[in-house]
Amino acid sequence: MKRALVWLGLAAACAWSVAPFAWQVLTSLKPQAELERLPPLLPAALTLAHYEAIFAGHPFGRLILNSVVVAAGTAVLALALGALAGFALAKLRPPGRSAVLAGVVAMSMLPPIATVSPLFLMVGAAGLRDALAGLVLVYTAFALPLAVWLMTQFFRGIPDELYVAARVDGCSAAGAFAKVMLPLAVPGLTATGLLVFILAWNEFMYALTLTSSVAARTVPVGIALFPGLHEVPWGEIAAGAVVATAPVVLLAIAFQRRVLEGLTAGAVKG
């Protein structure tokens, strides 16, 4: 009996999480005429017209490309810098490291609205407005606190002896890092990289203010600004939403174990 209740509760929780997506997918497949009426709930026929429309009428492909470039670029940069810093803080243990870590955590609490106006002016002055490079730079800073924190935790989880042994064997710090620590940190790197990718893919406010044309616009901004002058095309918005979220959803599901490790490592420290 109790088992049944638990399963029921879980089913409800899962349904609650998934139902809006299911409805959105359904909406994206409904012919236009059926979208303007509510009963019936299920469409008589399915259509891919909305998916075609978003790539034909709107530069959606370009938006996806931009998002991929920016998110991947951010992930790579944040991982590189974060892994180095995390390794140094966890293994080399310099004095003042707790202050540094506290500072890093504090940075992660920065509300984007607080830095968006100065960044807007700074990025403009540097000539990086409406450029993917500008976004990658800003996003890296946005994601670094998370990356540094997570990599520090992951490196802490690797026994010191392995590092010491490598040094004793004659490796330089960089060598030990590259040959011994990095391979062992792959789960941590994956988890961190995924989280940073998802974070960068989903970011909205900086993308909204630091880009002004399709050349650098990312998917979330495209979805938010979808209605053009004279349309609220629910079918196309739904199709856009499905396409926009497919990459991160697939990543999250495929690598869910890693993602969960990352999420919990950030918070639950023994």
Partner: protein, 426 residues
């Protein structure tokens, strides 16, 4: 590193006046294509994407290039008005020369003029033209008695109605607001599932347009002058009463242009307030209301003039442009009767010149447009102020407050007046 941005708007506009006058003087002195015969000068024109096949615009530019030797490069912007505003403001403030001529929403002209970003184009509008233009757009592009942009397209609020339903119940299209309310009550009482009147009540710029039509239709205005205060209060009370009495559905506070148009287009509403663009969508093949709808000027209180809110686009010249003379010629060309007629025929965009409405070719090809002349004649712009964007934020929230019942009309009017006074002081 960018050079200093602040040469003082007054000083700069003075210098620009002189420069513009010089260039235009040289032009108007019958010089013709002298300075451009050596090569093709390229002028960059930024505008929102036009609603239709871009080929017609390109053809127009090709003709212009043949005549003047100036090539126009057309660059489009996303259609969201806020985005365009931000784009222009940021680039113009930074002294960008990347575009020469650009299209402005009717509400930005005073702001851009005061900021010193627009070339004074008064010389391009001789008296003959001035008399040909509708007064509304002319007022919107005038700042400190000088003209800073050329009216390009005009737009105004209209009343769409279900002709078939009104005929069925023996009613005429309403000329007064009270008549509209009465008609709505009669018809919705007898036709189940029909909304009376749908319009744009969401908290956004469109609400300001709609609310001004209610308020001005009573003889009031926002911000309210003392003389017109009572009328303004009546207008706001009327707006709120539409929802309380069920003439407008409560969710009118979530409607923008398209959602309202869709409801009417599905046959679920008796009256719709919207812009002229909706006509094509409502009257086309496959529309459930094809052949059943009519269009009229918005109602007003008895004895008061009609008061549709003005929309539309204007052409401005970037004060930092490297080719102000050529840019001015392009702007003048686009604003000329010939170009506007071509664009009206191709895109159905309404020209701001009276004379074109008497043109038989236009009347034949775009009869709907031609029928709107009276409405454009009396269309009134929103408050012409450099601080309009900030004022609009206050207007939007106060009007939304009145509409949802959170604010009493008197308090709203006071708040709007106070904000207006404070902004004008800055």
């Amino acid at each position: 590193m960018r050079r200093a941005e602040w040469v003082g708007p007054r000083v700069r506009s003075g210098v620009v006046h002189a420069l513009a006058a010089l260039c235009l003087g040289a032009l108007l002195a019958g010089c013709g294509p002298r300075e451009v015969s050596t090569g093709h000068e390229v002028v960059v024109f930024r505008h929102p994407k036009l609603f239709g096949d871009p080929a017609a615009l390109e053809r127009l530019f090709a003709e212009f290039e043949r005549e003047s030797g100036i090539r126009v490069r057309s660059e489009t912007l996303p259609s969201a008005s806020d985005e365009q505003h931000l784009f222009y403001a940021i680039n113009l403030q930074a002294g960008s020369r990347e575009f020469d001529v650009f299209a402005l929403d009717v509400i930005w002209v005073a702001e851009f003029a005061r900021a010193g970003w627009l070339v004074d184009l008064t010389a391009l509008v001789p008296d003959a033209d001035r008399e040909d233009l509708f007064p509304g757009p002319l007022a919107a592009v005038t700042w400190n008695r000088r003209i800073y942009a050329l009216p390009w397209f005009v737009d105004a609020g209209l009343l769409y109605y279900r002709k078939d339903l009104l005929d069925k119940h023996g009613l005429a299209p309403p000329a007064t607001w009270q008549a509209l309310v009465d008609a709505a009550r009669v018809v919705t009482g007898r036709e189940p599932g029909l909304y009376g009147f749908v319009w744009q009540g969401k908290q956004y710029e469109g609400l300001v347009c709609n609310a001004l039509e209610f308020v001005r239709g009573q003889g009031g205005d926002l911000p309210a002058s003392d003389a017109a205060r009572d009328a303004s209060l009546r207008g706001l009370a009327f707006m709120r009463a539409l929802v309380i009495d069920g003439v407008a559905p409560p969710f009118v506070t979530t409607l923008t242009e398209e959602p309202a148009r869709v409801i009417f287009g599905q046959g679920r509403a008796l009256f719709l307030r919207n812009w002229p663009y909706a006509w094509q969508l409502l009257a086309r093949d496959g529309s459930p209301v094809q052949g059943k709808i009519g269009v009229a000027a918005l109602p007003h209180a008895p004895g008061q003039p009609a008061a549709a809110t003005l929309g539309g686009w204007q052409l401005g010249v970037n004060v930092h442009s490297a080719r102000p003379a050529a840019a001015a010629r392009v702007a003048a060309f686009l604003a000329s009767a010939r170009a506007q007629k071509a664009l009206a025929l191709a895109y159905g965009y309404a020209p701001p010149r009276r004379s074109l409405y008497r043109d038989p070719a236009l009347a034949r090809a775009q009869p709907f447009l031609a029928s709107l002349r009276e409405i454009f004649e009396t269309a009134r712009p929103r408050p012409v102020s450099p601080h309009y964007v900030a004022l609009s934020q206050v207007l939007q929230s106060e009007l939304s407050g009145v509409l949802t019942g959170e604010r009493a009309p008197a308090a709203a009017v006071r708040a709007i007046d106070r904000a207006h006074r404070e902004l004008e002081r800055r």
